[in-house]
């Protein structure tokens, strides 16, 4: 019940009242007559945004793990290309990457009859595969760097314990190294996923109809500017809120592994407080 009491403190009540007043003012003073007509399109656009985010984050993470691993412990012929990839991706604008893939690859592919006649062609002539590719590689580039630090930061003693008990390299990686590394960077990954969400509107420039593209279309067709943008902001806020919630839950699930106040929980000296 402390949660409710905290919520009912005077300054919070005032803030809530202000917010409610703002919402009511928006509802009455602004134009929403376009909404019924564009609502189905907006829902579709939101859905596109969400699946773009989920698919590219998951695929990007799957790429980031080997990229991070290669940089952390790989031989030079693996670590050097991995580092180059991350540097290039992080050093160039995402918009440029999206255009390079869409206009570059997109105009290269039709010149090959093998590709034109392949079963993939119906997909490759659409825009979304290039959006997925660019966003995935972007996420992989940033998270590859994050994972490099995460892998390098795992307590070597715990890995050695795995080896000492006869674990194979794969088992050590799967059971100890990866979970410890991911746990250490969960807060970072949550923030990076929100950044990824806010990178998705860029794919509107290559005709993918996600939620931002929908709001642009409303503006272009009805000349109403602020209302769609306001609603757009609310939509992004909601999705970002859900991401924050999911990650904080995930973090809490693994938080038992971190003692309150202990910075290095693994060395004897740090963990002698019962």
């Amino acid at each position: 019940m402390t949660g409710l009491r905290a919520l009912l403190q005077p300054h919070r009540l005032i803030l809530m009242a202000v917010f409610a007043a703002f919402v009511i003012w928006c509802a009455y003073a602004l134009r929403w007559d376009w909404l019924p007509k564009y609502a189905p399109l907006a829902v579709e656009g939101l859905w596109t945004t969400i699946w773009l985010l989920v698919v590219t984050s998951v695929l990007g993470m799957l790429l980031a793990i080997p990229l991070g691993m290669a940089q952390a412990i790989g031989p030079w012929y693996l670590s050097a290309p991995a580092r180059a990839f991350c540097t290039i991706i992080r050093g160039t604008p995402l918009l440029l990457q999206i255009w390079l893939f869409y206009y570059g690859l997109g105009s290269l592919f039709p010149q090959f009859p093998e590709i034109r006649n392949s079963e993939l062609w119906p997909y490759l002539r659409q825009a979304w595969p290039y959006a997925v590719l660019a966003l995935t590689l972007s996420y992989a580039g940033y998270e590859g760097e994050v994972m490099r630090g995460a892998f390098a930061g795992v307590d070597k003693g715990q890995l050695e314990a795995g080896r000492a008990f006869g674990m194979s390299r794969v088992t050590v990686f799967r059971r100890i190294w990866l979970p410890l590394a991911v746990r250490n960077v969960l807060p970072t990954l949550g923030g990076e996923t929100i950044l990824q969400l806010k990178a998705t509107p860029l794919v509107a420039t290559i005709t993918v109809m996600e939620i931002y593209a929908v709001s642009s279309r409303v503006r272009a067709e009805t000349f109403i500017v602020y209302e769609p943008l306001l609603l757009l902001a609310v939509a992004y806020l909601l999705v970002a809120g859900v991401i924050t919630l999911l990650f904080s839950r995930w973090e809490r699930r693994g938080s038992g592994a971190r003692a309150p106040g202990a910075t290095t929980a693994t060395t004897g000296q740090a963990a002698t407080k019962p």
């Binding site: 715990q158 088992t171 100890i176 592994a257 963990a271």
Partner: protein
């Protein structure tokens, strides 16, 4: 060199023959041999830098020996010319029979004590999870941590963590227990509980290699003591003899400084 005959008639649990180890140009071990028979408790003592931890870590190939032979339970570990294990599978199999206890515990911090103890039986030895869990509770009970089974290591004292680490090592029913200075990272008041657990294991006939700074404890539980100095066994023998009548000058000095 293999003069260890305290448990006569028993087969060797672990044999080390003429082990050498170089780190770069530094010779850390210069031909060390030992033979622990089933039920032996071999204490390895010596000053810092004497190579005692390296010796222990070479027995399960956490360090790669430069040359020498290691025979665990009658099975010789196949080594290539450079000392690296020739067969990874063999090393993994042998390691899973050597229960190692580290100075800094090295419990897996993302798993509860129970999960730590069942990890190797389930994911390395292929034991059924329920059987491993039942056994893990028994082991945690033995080290006095049954009520902490669902706790993460970070919430425990060093002494509790080390006892949990001993339970983890026991879970594989090891041929030999390897202790690498198990009490060196502990606050003085926590040492006693850990030593008590190790003493119980010695009394029930566990084979152990014990690298330690606790001379009183070594004297009490060991059946055989090796004194290492500058990468060689300077002196060895039953603890009464070694501690009461050290022959070599170095050991005499060493015992004076640690007492």
């Amino acid at each position: 060199m293999t003069a260890n005959r305290t448990a006569d008639g028993e087969p060797s649990a672990i044999q080390v023959i003429d082990l050498c180890k170089n780190f770069g140009s530094v010779e850390v071990l210069k031909g060390v041999s030992l033979d622990a028979r089933k039920g032996d408790v071999v204490a390895i003592i010596g000053g810092s830098g004497s190579g005692k931890s390296t010796l222990l870590r070479c027995t399960n190939f956490l360090e790669t020996p430069t040359s020498g032979k290691i025979i665990v339970d009658g099975e010789e570990v196949a080594m290539r010319a450079d000392g690296r294990p020739a067969n990874r599978r063999q090393i993994e199999r042998i390691r899973s029979r050597l229960g190692m206890v580290f100075q800094s515990f090295n419990l897996w911090t993302h798993r509860t004590l129970l999960e730590n103890v069942i990890e190797v039986p389930v994911h390395v030895l292929g034991m059924h999870r329920d059987a491993a869990t039942a056994r893990a509770f028994d082991l945690l009970d033995r080290v006095g941590l049954r009520d902490k089974a669902d706790t993460y290591p970070a919430y425990l004292s060093g002494g509790q963590q080390q006892r949990a680490a001993i339970a983890r090592a026991l879970a594989v029913d090891p041929t030999v227990m390897l202790f690498d200075e198990p009490t060196s990272a502990l606050d003085p008041e926590l040492v006693g509980d850990v030593l008590r657990v190790i003493r119980d294991l010695a009394q029930e006939g566990r084979t152990m290699l014990l690298v330690t700074h606790e001379m009183k404890f070594a004297r009490e539980v060991a059946s055989h003591v090796l004194y290492l100095s500058e990468g060689r066994i300077e002196e060895q023998g039953p603890p009464e003899q070694l501690f009461a009548n050290p022959r070599s000058e170095r050991l005499q000095q060493f015992l004076q400084t640690v007492h």
